[in-house]
Symmetry: C2
Subunit: 321 residues, 2 copies
């Protein structure tokens, strides 16, 4: 009888690594979900795959040395068009990678089983497995940061679309709007990303930059100014909320989501974002499912935790997608 | 050893029934996919579940008497908000049903295992299993008829969203547009359904109706007039194509579809629809996947065939969703 029982899943920790344009964030996560070690390093200025993946390899070795138990696997989250099934970064926009076989390269470098994931889908997995969307069947998580991405769970499965799913930030809201980095005009990300809110406020107020050219304000600062009665900030904030409501309404109409989770820099505004987006979304919906809009629970660590979950799922041969 | 082998799937035919606002269409489909009998009856004018499901039961018994082999199962496709997993029509708009346990009622009436499906998702299953989208991983089928619905396959699975997925016809294209039956303004269905094309042409030309008030023209007729140089027809057709391109671009951006299949009355225009919609869609896309746009292969029988496939899948306990 015992020969037919599956082997017990490996009990050691897995590593999760989130490779962003600015930081490589990493954590070792025990089988019970506890984070047993953390590490953060700047992403190397040279963005070629060799340099960045070498830095990831170094982060992995440092974390391995910090945890007493044998590390079982590695999950890595990267932004862009990420084909999880093949472990390939088809296009990692802010890193400049094209068709990079990240999983194979890191597996060769570390000797670990490696699962590659998309940063926003990884964050979605974290919120869906451990956070505010735990156990949901039909969930949409949108991160509102440098850009806007979405992770979508439908019928209890993560949607991948061979890497192309979830590009909510590039749904067009205003065809006559500002040029987007993707080449189109008026994408949601040009109005409602944290970056766009800061930029649009600066455009209205004549700029608010540090002497070195970096923005002096965060999206949260713009939100606070809006609340304090600054009309330029209020207009920019209202535009962002309205565009989010409209684009989320379309997404909810085609996905049938029961829960919308908002994360990223813009969501740091908390109730000043969540309530108005809920109201704007509700105004667009008639017979459709009316999802609750909530704030992500996990903050900036969701990508790392999601990457670790992807690593463990691959190890247990129970992929989440 | 043999005790561990699954039982052979039942070899007899299954019935597929597509319950529309006008017609109840049905077919008996053999295990090899061949249609061995067909039947069509008007949908009863009284739309209450008892009357309509009684008519469905009568269609089932008539078909059973026509096929020599034992009928194994029944698949039924209904429009609206259809919860396949529970077998419940949450809201069947043009039939007026609410929370009707269709699968249980028909199973009790016929003694057959019954799978309930959504009409457009059933059509999508038929094209995906047997038709122009056969074997695709990421497919979007849109039917352009009385309204507009979509069936979506993502990662080789049909999306259901607890019944709420795929309401492409109610994505808003023009917030200042005409009132939609759903209560919103400017839904895609108010511009690009077959019904809308006929209505909008009649509005521009002072009406083109038979003496009894029914439209004298089909959407295909409007397409032909547009091709012949009728400016009103050309304007209405261009609006429909443009709205479809824009809404499909948003859908492709969030689903990552590799193939878009167009069916329903509007697709009878063939190349006059497909090429222009492909061009309009392509204009909206930048880095996204660029799906091919093709015409549905199965025509008006796709709902029936899809319903039969759902019936057989349930029987074999290999659900397609």
């Amino acid at each position: 009888m015992t020969t037919n029982q599956p082997a017990a899943p490996p009990a050691g920790p897995v590593l999760g690594v989130d490779v962003g344009g600015t930081l490589i964030k990493a954590a070792a996560v025990a089988a019970d979900g506890e984070v047993v070690a953390r590490l953060e390093r700047p992403t190397p200025p040279a963005r070629d795959p060799d340099t960045v993946l070498s830095a990831v390899g170094s982060v992995v070795e440092t974390l391995r040395a910090q945890v007493p138990d044998r590390v079982e696997a590695l999950g890595v989250a990267v932004p862009g068009i990420i084909d999880e099934a093949r472990g390939v970064a088809v296009m990692a926009a802010n890193l400049g990678w094209r068709d990079t076989p990240v999983a194979d390269l890191l597996s060769a470098a570390t000797g670990l089983p490696v699962a590659l994931g998309h940063d926003v889908r990884a964050a979605c997995v974290a919120e869906w497995r451990l956070g505010v969307a735990k156990g949901g069947s039909d969930v949409l998580l949108a991160t509102l940061g440098t850009g806007i991405g979405a992770g979508v769970v439908s019928g209890g499965r993560l949607l991948v679309g061979s890497g192309y799913a979830g590009q909510l930030g590039h749904t067009v809201v205003d065809p006559d709007g500002q040029r987007c980095s993707c080449g189109q005009r008026g994408c949601l990300a040009t109005i409602a990303s944290a970056t766009a809110v800061v930029r649009r406020y600066a455009e209205r107020t004549g700029g608010a930059e540090h002497p070195d050219g970096t923005p002096a304000l965060s999206a949260r600062d713009v939100a606070q100014r809006a609340r304090a009665g600054d009309p330029a900030a209020a207009a920019v904030w209202a535009d962002a909320v309205g565009a989010l409501g409209r684009s989320l309404a379309i997404a909810v109409t085609v996905f049938g989501s029961e829960l919308v989770v908002l994360g990223g820099g813009l969501a740091l505004a908390g109730d000043q974002l969540i309530g108005p987006v809920q109201d704007s979304l509700d105004e667009w919906l008639t017979f459709q499912r009316r999802p609750r809009v909530v704030r992500a629970a996990m903050g900036a660590e969701s990508g790392v935790l999601g990457a670790a979950l992807l690593g463990r799922a691959a190890l247990e041969e129970t992929p989440v997608t």
